[in-house]
Symmetry: C2
């Protein structure tokens, strides 16, 4: 059987767990040695594609079976007509179903992935504390949850295509990001072929896809923010919704009156969407049309079940600007808009910063929860210092782990190239891995059920010198194996009861095993071992003589 | 003038600040453009060496001037005799001077580095809240402070020499670590040439050097822990103290009765020193001789001013074992030993874990402070998850940043090779940079005076598109520059008002400048700008016409 995981996870296979309502939920199962049962982990990779075909349309029968949708024709820029689905009832959103007490197959599927009851999922969605981004026109995606009471998720940004030949490259980058564990991707493409790039990503993405529609609207008006109109923006929303985009970043909180609050900042407005809207507001001296037309935007989103990601256009771009008046003024407006979206049955999450020193991080998530009525929070990092361009996956993973622990539902990755250039394949992987570390650390700190099983399995493998298991349980088996083999390349070293740190015969872990064995043999509690048996054992040790240690090398005390 | 910083910091030069008691304190001064004053940053690199000679013996006149030391002869293994200094008064420790109200040149030097008053330094040392590791036989080192109220420090571990030819390699690794910002180094060498390797590192190290003397003692008894004796250990302490080691890790808290507490752990005892002592205790069924002889150890250390780093031999080696009974039992003993050391005028810091999930991190530093009477805490990470071998510089930088914020004084780095193999030059740099990020983030969060000036200078450079300044202000200018140049290699791009993220003409930062200019021109508060002037400005914008945006590429919203 070929692995859908390529060479990256050599001893993994995809398994499916049967769930309620007939759902079959994929997990990655890692084969282990030493009598350990295989370990199943959350799987973002999606199914294998048939050669030439796209992904299977997993959710299509669920959507069709609900009888509240109809088919429309959408016209691609090349003039081809393709079917798209559109709601014809009051709303086709998971929020609306959840509020009506309906557990959908989407909810059941996500519940199995999270290891919780479907009813709990329904309840969290109904309360607005979680979203299930899930456009009816993106049936290829596997349902997943973004909410504080679920596993912390990771988003990877894509999109730098300006010429046709790069479309396939962007699709490959998406596949690469989900292989390493991205839970959603955002397509931030600009320039030519923006529609086709998005289409290619959607048709091949097993995870929800987000966009920032103002980017495409801006292209349509020649790149002049002041020429943006509601009509152009509205048509762009419909176009993207019919393609299947699962969530839209909408910078509706950048109100005219907040723009001057950024004047004294060290780094002003750093959000690209925020600056487009601020420029529009200033040019027209008018209120942001995303704000004034918000109700109409809701009507479009609920027709396809596109979720809002309410953008933080005034987020801080430096430590100096963190938690300032502009940022929190916009947040207040996002709270107001959340209620409007919910009143129209549209799912909502809230975007957050950015650049925040550690002592100001917790306030961000607590304030967002309070002001935005516990809608899921989705942050970019935050970076906890500005002094390390080239390493901002690390500066931001620190803030991301903390803000995840404190209740942020999804973390937008930052790559090592942030502030400097365009991420390549290596940067995408480095960014996703750093953020999987942050998200998993947050799950552990939140006490998410089952999160620790992977840590414990890996630690048992480490203690028992099961090297292959240690590699395969890691987030990146290839790198772990390669680092080990730099010092000890011989295949026999993989079974050896030592590592290069302390050399072949002396190892700190042996001692514990001896204490444990003695306790087991005598059926004593460990506390009793010394009193009852160690004089005898002491004699054995000394009699055992001289060959317990060979000088080795050690980098740790 | 050639730079002592090599090619790593091209626009930096070493400057000296005159301080009290005639001290001249080095800083690295970064030249900036755009009318910005140069920025001075803490400098760990030390002075340039004369060709063929070692470092200048900066502290020698200060030590000699105090009249409480005498010279002894120490014999190197090759039979060469060299002078060493030894106290002949009650103690020659900075703690003793501080308690007597004396501000030493060492304290004055460190005060200037930290930007505080010498009297404040004296007070912190006298109270035991800070140490100034500073063996009288290591006059080449520049005084520095380890304490909660000072900048958070970073230690880098070295030491993997087993053959003579590698000694120079270890010295080079030390120089490399201090170039990137290591505040101290620990030489953990084992095997042959252990004495010579340490001698070479000490004579060339501008930062304090720590060791774990039990390693060398173990070599002397053929690697058999049960053959260790007090006499062998004592002679090793004296040998290393006379060479100039500044602090010793001493695992005196691994008491016989605590060893069985580790039996039920997932990863038992993972400290190498801890396991050596535990094995000795079990083999003899006797109390750890480092504990029973602790008073005698103090007598040796105070004769040279070697500081204790009280080792955590029972630290957790996995998330599962964090904050367990064994760990905290040992910590209680370290608190007891701290008081004994202080009663003998010996400086003390306390070592901490290891592997700890985020929600249990704060307890570690708070408990250490309470139990160990506010002696400085010095932790290895901690790693906040076990699932990422190959990336443990990141898993541990997360924990390190947090525990630094909460009061840990020094962070022992972890490299990407941790758990897998021996760190090479790249790993040492990656480890030091990750830990400089953690330490600086902690300084920001603690509100350390002046810490934010570097962030602010870099953010101003970023906002003003002073690319060269942005690179030079970063922790690693080489990498920042290289990442930028991958996308925009042309020299002209360094002066360009754009980056590869948003393309050449549209940039979110321009807007803020326009709002700011308008406010300044009209002498209005930003809040008044819109009301007073923006209708007019709005006209200008629209009249300005169509060339504000060229489609670019963007990886962020």
């Amino acid at each position: 059987m070929t692995s859908p995981y390529g060479a990256s996870f050599p001893r993994s296979r995809k398994v499916h767990v049967e769930g309620p309502l007939g759902v079959r939920v994929p997990f990655r199962e890692i084969t282990l040695g030493g009598g350990e049962p295989p370990l199943r982990v959350y799987d973002t990779c999606g199914p294998s594609e048939a050669p030439g075909g796209g992904l299977p349309r997993l959710r299509e029968p669920w959507v069709r079976s609900r009888d509240d949708v109809g088919e429309v024709e959408r016209v691609s820029p090349e003039g081809r007509r393709r079917p798209a689905v559109r709601g014809r009832g009051p709303a086709v959103t998971q929020l609306q179903y959840a509020r009506r007490g309906i557990v959908t197959p989407e909810m059941a599927f996500a519940a199995v992935r999270e290891g919780v009851e479907p009813e709990f999922v329904r309840d969290e969605i109904a309360a607005g504390r979680a979203i299930l981004p899930n456009n009816v026109n993106h049936p290829e995606s596997e349902p997943m949850l973004i909410g504080r009471r679920f596993l912390v998720k990771v988003n990877a940004n894509l999109g730098n295509s300006v010429v046709k030949s790069e479309i396939e490259e962007e699709v490959e980058k998406m596949r690469w990001a989900v292989r390493w564990g991205a839970d959603t991707v955002m397509d931030l493409s600009t320039g030519r072929d923006i529609h086709e790039t998005r289409e290619a990503i959607l048709r091949h993405s097993p995870v929800p896809v987000g966009t920032v529609p103002i980017y495409e609207a801006l292209e349509k008006v020649g790149g002049r923010p002041e020429d943006l109109t509601w009509e152009v923006y509205r048509d762009t929303l419909v176009e993207q919704a019919e393609q299947g985009v699962d969530y839209f970043t909408v910078h509706a909180g950048v109100r005219l009156r907040y723009v001057p609050l950024t004047a004294k900042r060290v780094t002003g407005i750093v959000s690209r969407g925020g600056s487009i809207l601020a420029r529009w507001c200033l040019a027209h001296h008018a209120e942001n049309f995303l704000y004034t037309r918000f109700g109409e935007i809701c009507e479009i989103l609920k027709t396809y079940d596109v979720a809002f990601s309410l953008g933080d256009g005034l987020r801080p771009g430096s430590i100096a600007d963190a938690n300032d008046e502009a940022q929190f003024a916009e947040l207040d407006t996002l709270g107001e808009l959340t209620k409007i979206a919910w009143s129209r049955d549209v799912q909502v999450m809230i975007e957050g910063p950015g650049h925040v020193p550690m002592h100001l991080v917790q306030t961000n998530v607590e304030r967002a929860r309070a002001v935005c009525h516990d809608a899921p929070f989705y942050t970019l990092g935050p970076l906890v210092t500005d002094v390390a361009p080239g390493y901002d996956h690390i500066t931001s993973a620190i803030g991301a782990a903390m803000i995840g622990w404190w209740g942020t539902a999804m973390l937008c990755y930052v790559t090592p190239k942030e502030h400097l250039g365009l991420p390549d394949r290596k940067d995408v992987k480095d960014g996703v891995i750093a953020y999987r570390i942050a998200a998993h650390a947050a799950d552990l700190a939140k006490g998410h059920p089952g999160a620790r099983s992977r840590d414990d399995a890996l630690s048992r493998a480490r203690f028992a010198f099961r090297w292959e298991d240690q590699f395969d349980l890691s987030l990146d088996p290839e790198t772990a194996r390669a680092f080990h083999d730099e010092t000890l390349p011989a295949p026999a070293a993989k079974g050896a009861h030592f590592c290069s740190m302390c050399g072949p015969k002396f190892c700190s872990m042996e001692l514990t095993q001896q204490v444990r064995d003695l306790a087991a043999a005598q059926r004593l509690a460990p506390e009793e071992v010394l009193a009852a048996g160690l004089r005898e054992k002491a004699g054995e040790f000394r009699a055992g003589g001289g060959d317990l240690y060979v000088p080795g090398r050690t980098p740790s005390t």
